[in-house]
């Protein structure tokens, strides 16, 4: 186990290093921030001073090494625009995105799992057919369109829910969270629903096919042959088996939800990391872009590890070993 974790850590470091290089070169290739950051009226002297101050006069490899050297010390550079540490800037926005993504994931599991279970157990009922048709919609309707519709109906016409911002927040673990206040939750509902629609569909389909597959297994028939109640067969024998793929996929999805919540955040003016990164790309705020991508990479690594650990506790056949 320890060997396994050490090996994973080493792998993670290598991935981070490789990613940092790709990200750095990639961002460099996007464009020159000087044109955007420095006013066109500035004279040559001012221009050069500014370029020097931002460290943009050095060759790329030198810029990269400087970045790497500072990154190891926990400094991912300062935002060109806000003149604040990039890391701090992103961490301030992180709770908003996290609670949005986690909320959406919870919703996906709490809604998707029961619906999928029902659709799998009673595949021919009208209810199941409706659920499956709904899941196709959830898959295929574009997120931004659904978001706009939600705002139209629930904010504009019915006036039930606020449509922009995080609302009131409360302090927890030194960060500000919306889900701790009533107003915050009211603000959170629509973006979370919007973001979870695709995931609900995913969980429904995954659960349904898992149930259908598992029900045919000999061990389910054997469980029935033992005289167990139908409830025990479903909720212990079938359920524990379908949980394995569901947990894996939902867990891995969490990473991409965080990374790609951009659309939802833009529609609902949700001040999360997604919105920050879009703004930063617009002004070519390189340190923020690079820091953001590094954080996302790290998050994927952590989530993957967590999913693997969870997977191995759910499925006793899986052994975590030092070998890859």
């Amino acid at each position: 186990m320890t060997v396994y974790l050490l090996r994973r850590l080493l792998q993670a470091l290598l991935v981070m290093l490789a990613m940092s290089l790709i990200v750095f070169v990639g961002v460099y290739a996007i464009g020159d921030p000087v044109e955007i950051l420095i006013s066109p009226d500035a004279d040559q002297m001012e221009r050069e001073r500014a370029i020097k101050a931002l460290g943009l006069d050095l060759p790329l490899w030198q810029q990269y090494l400087t970045f790497l050297f500072r990154a190891v010390q926990g400094d991912l550079g300062r935002s060109f625009v806000f003149n604040e540490p990039a890391l701090q800037l992103i961490l301030q926005k992180m709770p908003a995105t996290l609670e949005l993504a986690v909320g959406a994931t919870f919703m996906a599991v709490l809604i998707g799992l029961p619906l999928g279970l029902y659709a799998g157990l009673k595949p021919d009922s009208a209810g199941s057919k409706a659920i499956m048709a709904g899941s196709i919609l959830g898959f295929s309707l574009p997120t931004f369109w659904v978001g706009l519709m939600l705002i139209m109906v629930f904010a504009v016409q019915l006036g039930w829910l606020p449509s922009t911002g995080r609302g009131e927040t409360a302090q927890f673990l030194g960060l500000r969270w919306s889900f701790l206040t009533r107003d915050g939750i009211a603000h959170l509902i629509m973006p979370a629903v919007n973001l979870s629609l695709f995931k609900i569909s995913l969980v429904v389909r995954l659960t349904r096919s898992g149930v259908r597959e598992t029900m045919l297994m000999d061990y389910v028939k054997f469980a029935r042959a033992k005289g167990l109640s139908p409830r025990r067969v479903t909720y212990v024998h079938v359920f524990k088996n379908i949980l394995i793929p569901v947990v894996t996929v939902v867990g891995l999805e969490l990473g991409s939800t965080i990374a790609f919540s951009v659309v939802t955040e833009s529609i609902f003016a949700w001040p999360g990391m997604g919105k920050l990164i879009i703004d930063s790309i617009n002004v070519l705020d390189r340190p923020v872009i690079v820091a953001y991508l590094m954080i996302i990479v790290m998050m994927f690594i952590v989530i993957n590890l967590a999913v693997d650990l969870l997977y191995s506790t759910l499925d006793p056949r899986v052994r975590l070993e030092g070998k890859s």
């Binding site: 000999d218 061990y219 028939k221 054997f222 029935r224 033992k226 005289g227 212990v236 499925d315």
Partner: protein, 326 residues
């Protein structure tokens, strides 16, 4: 005469598939006496497993028991409600499946899978249930049962898993065990061990046994009676020694010709020429007609299972009576 443990009369189980009605079981009758072992034999697809599932009420969609009686101590199981059947299953009638690698749930520990079986039918404390599981595991020859209870199925070999399945079947000392080819997936030595142990247990506990197999040598050593199935029907039954020595039905005759031990040495295995007919469109009359060397025009008419000599039945109008007469 006391009531038999199980009497199946003209059982019919059909599958209503898109392609048509598959008459997987269409006229199966046999009797299993108390403490007796019935060998149910027949080639692949003859309906042995479906017969077993029909008895414990586990025929799944699109299948249904459409006719006949399943008398368990005189009570017709086909008439029981699902809840009444559930109370019988695993309690008074147990079943062991063909493939031990597939019968245990891979994500649940052995103790979970055993204790739940105890608790499904009796109100005992968790600790008592555990004790009973431990004892039963010991009984089927699993060493250090206390530790093994905490294992997961994948930590066992195939033979050990089948022992666990047998232990689960024995937990409530059922009156009837249906064993569906429980040793076919195992290697020969382990097969022998398990056979011997099950036989011992059956004798000691007075449990009746239906042993499904297509291995006639297993039946010869284990069973009291034998029922031979062909295309969803019992074509011959009777005491095992008589049927194997002097088969009446041409199909049984052919089968026995293909058991190695009964052939003269060096002689090639006798195969029954032809193929099993499709169950989808079985013509009326004898299903074995297309492969039978005794077939005549009369064989195209429906044929019942008839008592030909005392205690022996066959579904044939030109049986091998000469052997019995001689």
């Amino acid at each position: 005469m006391s009531v038999a443990t199980l009497e199946v009369r003209n059982l019919q189980t059909h599958f209503f598939t898109r392609a048509g009605v598959v008459k997987a079981v269409d006229g199966v009758s046999f009797t299993v006496g108390r403490g007796k072992v019935l060998g149910l034999v027949g080639e692949s697809g003859s309906g042995k497993t479906v017969t077993g599932f029909s008895i414990i009420g586990l025929v799944d969609e699109p299948g249904r028991v459409v006719g006949g009686e399943i008398l368990f101590h005189g009570q017709n199981l086909a008439r029981l409600s699902e809840e009444e059947m559930r109370q019988l299953r695993g309690n008074r009638i147990a079943m062991i499946f063909q493939d031990p690698m597939m019968t245990l749930n891979p994500v649940l520990r052995i103790d979970t899978q055993m204790i739940e079986t105890v608790l499904a039918h009796t109100k005992v404390s968790h600790e008592e249930a555990r004790q009973r599981c431990r004892d039963t595991l010991g009984m089927v020859g699993i060493p250090s049962p206390e530790e093994r209870l905490k294992s997961y199925p994948h930590q066992f070999s195939g033979g050990m898993r089948q022992r666990v399945a047998i232990a689960i079947a024995l937990l409530h000392r059922p009156e009837l065990i249906i064993a569906d080819e429980p040793t076919t997936a195992l290697d020969v030595t382990i097969q022998g061990q398990i056979l011997a142990e099950v036989q011992k247990l059956a004798i000691n506990t007075g449990t009746s046994l239906i042993w499904i197999t297509h291995d006639l040598s297993v039946v010869a050593g284990l069973a009291d009676d034998i029922a031979v199935m062909y295309a969803g029907r019992v074509v011959e039954d009777g005491p095992v020694s008589e049927v194997l020595d002097k088969p009446l039905h041409p199909y049984t005759h052919g089968l026995i010709g293909s058991v190695p031990s009964r052939n003269k040495r060096g002689e090639p295995l006798r195969q029954i020429p032809g193929m099993t007919p499709s169950l989808l469109k079985l013509p009326p009359g004898c299903a074995f007609r297309s492969r039978c060397d005794r077939a005549t025009a009369e064989c195209a008419a429906p044929i019942e299972l008839m008592e030909l000599t005392l205690g022996r039945h066959a579904r044939c109008i030109h049986p091998h009576m000469e052997a019995v007469a001689a």
